[in-house]
Every structure is written in C-alpha cells, then in structure tokens.
Amino acid sequence: PEKLAEFQAKIDADIKIEPKDWMPQGYRKTLIRQIGQHAHSEIVGQLPEGNWITRAPTLERKAILLAKVQDEAGHGLYLYGAAETLGVSRDELTEMLLDGRMKYSSIFNYPTLNWADIGAVGWLVDGAAIMNQVPLQRTSYGPYSRAMIRICKEESFHQRQGYDAIRKMAEGTPEQKKMAQDALNRFWYPSLMMFGPSDKDSVHSAQSMAWKIKINTNDELRQKFVDQTVPQAEYLGLTVPDPDLKWNEERGHYDFSEPDWSEFFDVIKGNGPCNTDRLTARNKAWDDGQWVRDGLLAHAKKKRARHLAAE
C-alpha cells in the first residue's frame, strides 16, 4: 500500500512509469489489454484497406494506400514493443488475438465496399482513432506514451490523406459522389461506436482515469469527434445519416443520435459483417507462415553456431 501510494503520487505528478518501476498488477494487466488491443487493431486494420490495394484507381493512390498500410503495420510493431516491456511477448499476444481471447477494434469488422470507403476510413476511422489517441500521448506509462507520440504524428497525416481522397470523390462525377455518400452512410455510426459505450455503462473507466491510462471519457471524445466532423461533411457536400443531427447553440455542441448499441454488442460477440473473415485471414497468414518463421529461426541458429565454432 505504501508502494501503491508512491505509485499514484508519481502519476499525479505526471512522472512517467517506466518498465522497471514497480506497478500494481491491475495497472499492468489493464495496460497489456489496452496496448495489445490497440496493436491488434493496427494489424487487423490492414485488411479492410488492403482489400482495395490491388484495385486502387491510380498509381499515386496505390502508393499512398500502400504507404499507409505499411505505417499501420509499423504502429503494430511499436505497440507490441511497448507491450513487451510489460512482460508479454508479441507471439503470446498474437495467439490471444488468433484464438479470440483478445479483441481488436470492432470498426475493422465492417467491409470496404467501394473506393470512397478508403477515403472514409482515413477521414472518419483514423479521425476517431486520433481523437482517442492524442490524449494518450500524455498517458502515464512511458513506453506507451512515447509510442503514441510517434503514432499520432503519422495518423494525422493519414487522416488528411483520407479526407483528401474522399474530397476528390465528393467533388467528382455523380457516381463518385454517390460512392462518397454511401461510404459516409455506412461508416458514420460505426465510427461513433469507436469511442465505446457511454461512460455511465463502463466499469473500468474510473480506475483507468485515475491511472491516466484513460484521459477523457468516451462521451467527451465522441462529442468532440462529431463537432469536428460535421462541418467537414458539410464542406464536402455530404449528408451525415442522422436526421436528428443539429447544432445546439446553448450547449455549443452538435446534438446527435446515439449509434445502435445492440449492433455494437453484436459485432463484439463476433457477429459483425467481417469478424469471421478477418480472423480467418489472420489465422491463415499465421499458419501458412509457420514454416517461414521456423526456417528463419533455424538459419539464425545455424549461423550463430557456425560463428561460435569459427571463433
């Protein structure tokens, strides 16, 4: 308890917790879950965008999309690295993803169905992710905080690219504009869900906020996202699929409809449009790649042995 008080004092004083520092089990466990899920989201998040790489309409768009998906894999690396400082290996985390013990962001269980979806993912999904992540640059755990700083920089670049891609569609031919609207229709509510259910319904929030693993409430962030995104949609000439959306002068915020939380819980349970396909794809990549990992490992050992023998 003395240690615990000391620990909390450091956090309150905005001193970062580092891997070798003492920390409560709950703090460690919560962090592993949160960082791991975030890492998995980057990995699974490659799939919906990767779905359009082979169909990107220009060389430039193909290059941008490849670079983006590559960055996401890189974010996965940083985050697995941060999680490893807490004593869990990347392989352990991966196995928990593959057998369903750990989750990834539900947004990636929605399909990408037209090219404007790629813009929408950048604009809305990365937009919502950044909204979540920016405060986490100040999170109490050092390696996590530093990973988030690097990631946020790249993510905001992605978001601008996404907005640019959907703008091009919204300003394009009638079909392109229709694609952009269709993308917004399908991604709007799932994006709002990315902030999680209302904090009233969230069990862990208070402790996580005390530990500065979580900085803002879900509802705060969701409101901020709506306030930021609605004018952008208007600028694009697109209609947010919410008839009750309107500016509330008094609050200084937009009033908006809640997403269908039963859908949210359905998707979490595994019933999203793509849950099965996403996990199948990741399992297949892992299983098919076993011989590669084994081969490279065997070679590394041989090489080391030869090196030692030569000394």
Binding site: L47, L59, E60, L66, G289, G295, L296
Partner: protein, 252 residues
C-alpha cells in the same frame, strides 16, 4: 523500327516489369508470415510502383502525351511488355521471395548499367531506382539464404520455388532488335551481356542457400514482345484496372 519506337518499347518493358511485380507483391499486404515481412513487402511494392510512375511517365511522354496511369490502367494484356516471371502468382512466401530475388538480381545489374545511359532521363530514373533495388536485393538474398539454409521444409519449398521459376529466368536476358537498337544508341545495355554477372551473383547466393540451380536451359518467352503472356496476367488486370474501366474519365 525507328529508335523512338524502340525506346518506347524499352520503357514499357522497364515500367511493366515494376508495375506487375509491384502489384503481385502488394497482394501480400496484411497476409505475410511475420509483421516485419508485411512491412518489407509493402515497402518493396511501394518502391516498384514509384519506379513505374517514372518509367511509364517517360513512356507516355515519348508516346505523345499519355499519362503513366493511362498506360497502367487502360492497356489490355497484349500491350504489356513485362517478362513472364513477374506475372506468376505469389503462391507461398517462398516462391514470392525467390521470384523477388531473381528479379532483383537482374534489376540491380540492369539499373547499374542504365545509370550510364546516354539518355539523361533514363540515367536519372536508374540512379534513383538503383538505390532502392540494392536494398531489395540485399533483403531478398538474405531471405533466400535464410529459408534455403533453414529447416528441411523451408529448404524444400525454396528448391521447389527455384525449380518452378528457373524457366522464367532466361527471358530477362533474351535480346532482340529493340535491345540492339537501344545498345547501339547507348541508351541501354544488351540484356544478353548481363547474364554472366547475373549468373555469378545468383550462383553465389543460391550456394549459400544450399539450393541447386536446375540444369535445363529452357526459357519461356513472349512477355517482352507481347506475343505470349501467361493466363495469369489477364486475371491480374481485371483487378488492377477495374475502377478505371468501370468509371472511365473520372479523376481520382
């Protein structure tokens, strides 16, 4: 054949190689055996697409004002001039990396010569690309060696990949009147002249990989002059060109 016509064909050969191989490599995105490989493959694809923009961009200029995108997305299979090797499906990671290695080996040697091209535009593209490709070759060599000299299974898979791909190697060194024209003008080397350097490089790496080069000297051909492609190219184009074909004239 005029020198301009030959030059266009040469540029298409360079650009179509990087375009089609870049596409194939990009198919791996999100499906590689290790996260580091996902990143490396995306990076390779990205470089190849960037090189495509340069080669096909120049080809389009020479051809009277088409864009690189026009050439990439609006030609049908018979207009492509890439070697057949870059068309074959990825199959497993072993075949993908073996194909990459064999192509990188040729590519790095070719670009090394093109740096000294009498055409400044070609020399400039080659200078930029050769730095990227030196890195590709380093990576693909390491992987081929690591997997060839890994477990029994990884060795067998790499040998099977080499056996499958070897008949596609010869086409990279086949020389025709276009190559002769380019060599005469000092724009590009005669591919046949690169073979000795290629063989030396490949033999060294494959020996480290404990792999055996097939004895047959048979070589598939037809891609570089468009007379014969594989059945795979047409399927690849259905994906690659879909949006441009379905929504002609749109700007993306």
């Amino acid at each position: 054949m005029t020198q301009d016509e030959a030059f266009l064909q040469f540029l298409l050969r360079m650009g179509d190689n990087t375009l089609i191989l870049g596409h194939r490599v990009s198919e791996w995105c999100g499906h590689a055996p290790v996260l580091e490989e996902d990143i490396a493959l995306a990076n390779t694809a990205l470089d190849l697409i960037g090189q495509t923009q340069m080669w096909l961009g120049l080809a389009g200029e020479v051809d009277g004002g088409q864009s690189a995108d026009d050439l990439a997305f609006l030609r049908d299979a018979w207009d492509f001039r890439n070697v057949l090797m870059v068309e074959v499906p990825n199959e497993d990671f072993g075949r993908t990396m073996m194909r990459q290695f064999l192509f990188d080996a040729w590519h790095s040697i070719m670009l090394g010569r093109l740096i000294k091209s009498s055409d400044e535009r070609v020399a400039a593209i080659a200078a930029k690309a050769s730095k990227e490709v030196a890195y590709h070759l380093e990576r693909s060599s390491d992987t081929v060696v690591g997997l060839g000299d890994g477990t029994a299974e990884s060795h067998d898979r790499m040998q099977a990949a080499l056996d499958y791909l070897w008949p596609y190697v010869g086409e990279m060194f086949a020389s025709d009147e276009i190559d002769a024209e380019m060599a005469k003008a000092g724009i590009a080397p005669n591919p046949a002249d690169l073979r000795a350097e290629f063989d030396a490089l490949v033999q060294r790496v494959l020996a480290d990989a404990t792999l055996t080069i097939p004895e047959s000297e048979f070589a598939h051909k037809g891609g570089r002059n468009g007379k014969m492609h594989t059945e795979h190219l047409g399927h690849l184009l259905t994906q690659m060109q879909w949006l441009q074909r379905a929504y002609p004239g749109a700007s993306w």
